[in-house]
Structure formats: C-alpha cells, structure tokens
C-alpha cells in the first residue's frame, strides 16, 4: 500500500486578503503594544517582537513576495522610527527595516510551499524566522554599522526568545485568522 502525502493542498495555496483597516491597524497596534507594554510592569514583553510576528503573519497569509517584503520594510522602518534598537537613539534607521524586509520576503515564499495554518508549523516557522531576524540584525549591527562597544544578548537568551515568540505566534496568528477575507 502506498501513502501519498501532499503538502500543498488547495487550502494551503489559497491567497488571503485583508481589509485595509486591518492591514494598517494591526501593525500600528503591534508597534503601540511593543512600545507601551514593557514600560507598564510588563518588562518581560521586551523578549517578544510583535512587529515581527505581524510581518510574518501578513506575509504568509498573502503568499506574494512583493507585498510580503514591502510589509516587512514598512513595519520594520516604523519600528526603527519608534522603538528601534540602540541606534534609533542616534537617529539611525533601518536595522529592523532591512531584517524585516528579508523576513517578509522569505515568509511569503514559505507560505506558498508549506502548510502555514498548522499550529506546529507556525511555531517552528516563527521561531526560525526570529533566529534569522536576530542573525541579520546582528550582522548589520556589527559589520555594517559598528558604532561603539555594546553587549550582545547571549545565544541562550536568543534561543529562549525564539521559542517564546514561536509560542506567542501560535496564539496571535489564531486570533488574526479571523480577519482574513477569503479570495
């Protein structure tokens, strides 16, 4: 007996659309929460990267690389503008912008090939993208910008953050699925 497993069903390659208010409002809400919550007795929220989760969600849902990378570019640039990293204090933009552009592109490409509606694959995908995002961010930080000495978070901390973001993504994506408009 042979068992054939298809990993690209019709459901999986379905392209989802979003109301314009959702497309604008959700990223802004993520930016707001990323800025607001860590200061208000939710210091642990610093470990999460809500704008990254939103970038991944929209990219894998739309499943088109150009909108995916543009979503990442816009969200990342706004994140740099508002919350950034240490360099935003010097007015330097685009560390997050560049990293999230690449993630948006890759996530939309992955969305075409894998079942991204499954909680398990969402967890693994988001954790992996978080690690990749941190890698890109750090490489640009150390190799391209190189301003002053600073302490980089340890690998154990980054791994923990990746797992935490993966877990949060499963819950957040399930909530955001409600806003999908099926084409």
């Amino acid at each position: 007996m042979s068992l054939t497993v298809s990993y690209t069903s019709r459901e999986e390659i379905e392209v989802h659309k979003f109301n314009w208010a959702v497309s604008v409002g959700i990223p802004l809400l993520a930016l707001f929460l990323q800025s607001f919550l860590p200061q208000k007795r939710f210091k642990f929220m610093e470990i999460f990267d809500l704008p990254l989760l939103v970038t991944i969600f929209f990219a894998v849902s739309r499943r088109r690389p150009i909108p995916g990378l543009l979503t990442g570019a816009i969200i990342g640039t706004l994140q740099d503008a508002l919350v950034g990293g240490r360099y935003e204090l010097k007015g330097i933009l685009n560390l997050n912008g560049i990293a999230k552009t690449v993630i948006g592109y890759l996530a939309s490409s992955v969305g075409v090939k894998l079942d991204v509606d499954n909680p398990g694959s969402r967890f693994l995908m988001t954790s992996g993208f978080y690690l990749l995002h941190q890698f890109i961010y750090t490489v640009i930080d150390l190799k391209l910008v190189v301003i002053g000495a600073h302490t980089l978070p340890g690998f154990g901390h980054i791994l923990l953050a990746a797992l935490c973001n993966g877990l949060l993504a499963v819950a957040v994506f399930a909530g955001l699925d409600r806003f999908k408009l099926r084409s």
């Binding site: 802004l28 930016l31 707001f32 990323q34 800025s35 607001f36 919550l37 860590p38 200061q39 208000k40 007795r41 210091k43 929220m45 610093e46 470990i47 690389p65 150009i66 990378l69 543009l70 570019a73 640039t77 706004l78 503008a81 508002l82 919350v83 950034g84 990293g85 240490r86 360099y87 935003e88 204090l89 010097k90 007015g91 330097i92 933009l93 685009n94 560390l95 912008g97 560049i98 552009t101 690449v102 592109y105 640009i140 391209l144 910008v145 301003i147 002053g148 000495a149 600073h150 302490t151 978070p153």
Partner: protein, 339 residues
C-alpha cells in the same frame, strides 16, 4: 519599435518577469541600506546629528505617543480614584506614623540648619559657585523603546512644555537620565544605564571623581577612571559631580556594589554601581528645566564676604559689647577687604 523587432528585448522582459520578486527585494534593500548609510554618516563627529531627527520618526512618534498618553491618563485616573476614595485602609495609622516622622525630621532639621550655615560661610569664603535645581517639571512615563538593546523611554512632555535636549531627568531617589530627543508632545529620555549614557560622579566618602557609564543592564552601571590603588568599599554612595554640565552637583546616583581591579584596563578599577532610582519601575519623573548658578549667600548677619580671619574670630571667645572702638575697627577691615 515592436518588441518582436528588437532581438534583445524579449529576453530582457523575460528576465525581469522571471526575477521580478528578487529584483524588487534587492531594490528595497538597496534603498534601505542607502538610508542606513546616510544615517550612519550623520553620526560623524564632524557633522553631529544633534538636534536632527528623521521626519519618519517625528510622524511615527506623534502618531503613537498620543494613544499612550490616553492609556496612561485613563489608567491613572482609575488608580487615583481607587486610592483616594475607596482604598483608604490604614490611612489613619499611616497618618499618625507620618506625623511622628515629621516631628523627628523637624528636630533633625534644626541640627542640620546650623551645619548648613557653616557650609555656606565656607563656600562664600572660597568663592564657590554652586549649581542647583531651580525648576522642575513633573512628567509621566508613557512608553518604552520596547527593545532589549537600548534603555530609553518616552515621557508625556514635549517641546510645548518647555522640554529641550540635554535636560536632566531625575526622581527623588536619584538621577534617571537625560532628554535625548524632543517632539511636540513627548520626549525621548536616554536612561543612565544605556550604553551611550554617561555622567560625572564623585564617591561621597573618598571624594574620588570618575565617569559613570551605562552597561545596558537595568540594575548596573560602570564607574571608570579610578586608579586601582584606591580603596572603594561596597555600599559607598555615588553622587553627581556637576562636571558634565547635565546633572547638578550632589544628586544621588547609586551605591557601589563591588570593586575589583580591571584586568582589561590596568591600572584602573572595575567598579559597578547599583542605581538609586528604580529604573525598571518608573512612572513619574522630574525634568530639570532650569539650573541656576550663583555664589551662595553668606548667612544672615555675616556681612557679605567673610575672610578666614573672621571665621576664626567667631570661634574665639566673644569680644565684650562695651569694647566698641575695637569692634568698629574690625568691621572696617571686613568692608575694605579687596574683592
């Protein structure tokens, strides 16, 4: 010309259509790297970016921070209402406790007043000009930068409230940081624990001066430029020296947590300082909007400028009141002293 007549065009079109996604990705990344590079260039010391803020930052901050202001104000309204009108358990006991504290402090104040008077006399003698906090504005913390890489937060006071770059931000417990950037309705405060922060400080007992640097950790500061042959005890208080032009002298900074020889930077010490202010739980801060500088006035009755001989004379047995010619001669000497 029709496409079919240009032999190179069909292949070029197929190239662009085939690699459209990759080309757009490269184009967007190129633009972002150019922007990044232009920003890095701005940070060149020869062309400092001080005071220049990207337009996209102004738009984003002005879009997000009003919502944060509303959230914070609403939260404080409900919290204050609860605390002021409902949750008054223990208020009576606390009131009595505070009254006892006031009485104790009054007694202490009387003792300290005498010491202050003496210090003022000595400072006037040495022509010290002291910088002191003349005016502060209270501000609410409305948001953080939300990043693990830096230590900064937004407050709900901006250009309209008189905020300006470089103003010191403090709490009653100790210094917090300084204003890094100012927007219309909000300001970004760089916390002293950030890598890019620094402050001139003095160790209270040993009177050693050093430069305090942020480590990026919320509970730790690094104190540099102190030689290894000095003895620094854990628990020693660290206060601002006033030499950095940001923080007025004498503000509490923190306490020494440990001090060991710096292996990477001999012959100096590696000193770690625990901040006095609770930087992880900030809700309200004071922005120092005005620092006054003036020579301290001599205490009343000292007759303005005082010479060392006059101070010594005060410690000698009192001259009898009847000895007026001698007293008059002494007064004339004080007034004609060269200034």
């Amino acid at each position: 010309m029709p496409a079919s007549m240009d032999p190179g065009r069909p292949s070029m079109e197929s190239f662009f259509s085939r690699y459209k996604n990759e080309l757009v990705l490269m184009g967007v990344l190129f633009v972002q790297i150019v922007i990044l590079a232009s920003n890095v260039e701005r940070d060149n010391p020869r062309a400092p970016a001080q005071g220049r803020v990207s337009l996209v930052r102004v738009w984003t901050v002005n879009l997000i921070t009003p919502a944060e202001r509303v959230f914070v104000s609403t939260g404080h309204f409900f919290r204050d209402t609860w605390r002021s009108y409902v949750d008054l358990r223990g208020a009576h006991a606390q009131n009595r406790q505070l009254q006892e504290e006031v009485n104790r402090l009054r007694t202490e104040q009387a003792r300290l007043r005498e010491n202050v008077s003496e210090v003022q006399r000595l400072r006037a003698l040495l022509e010290f000009k002291e910088r002191y906090v003349a005016q502060t504005v209270a501000a609410q913390v409305i948001g953080s930068n939300g990043s693990e890489q830096s230590r900064a937060f937004y407050i709900d006071k901006g250009k309209r409230d008189g905020m300006a770059q470089g103003m010191a931000v403090i709490t009653p417990d100790g210094i917090v940081g300084k204003i890094k950037e100012v927007f219309a309705l909000s300001s970004l405060v760089l916390v002293i624990t950030d890598h890019d922060s620094g402050a001139g400080v003095i160790l209270e007992k040993s009177r050693l001066r050093g430069v305090l640097r942020g480590t990026g950790l919320s509970e730790e500061l690094a104190l540099n430029d102190i030689m290894a042959d000095e003895k620094i005890a854990p628990g020693e208080l660290v206060i601002t020296s006033g030499g950095d032009g940001i923080y007025p002298k004498g503000l509490s900074v923190g306490t020494v947590s440990f001090s060991v020889p710096d292996r990477d930077n001999p012959p100096f010490l590696s000193i770690r300082v625990k901040p006095a202010a609770n930087l992880a739980r900030l809700e309200e801060v004071l922005v120092v909007t005005k620092i006054a500088e003036q020579a301290p006035a001599a205490p009343p009755g000292s007759g303005g400028r005082v010479r060392a001989a006059d101070i010594l004379a005060q410690r000698l047995p009192t001259v009898p009141e009847s000895d007026k010619p001698e007293a008059g001669a002494k007064k004339a000497t004080t007034e004609t002293a060269p200034r």
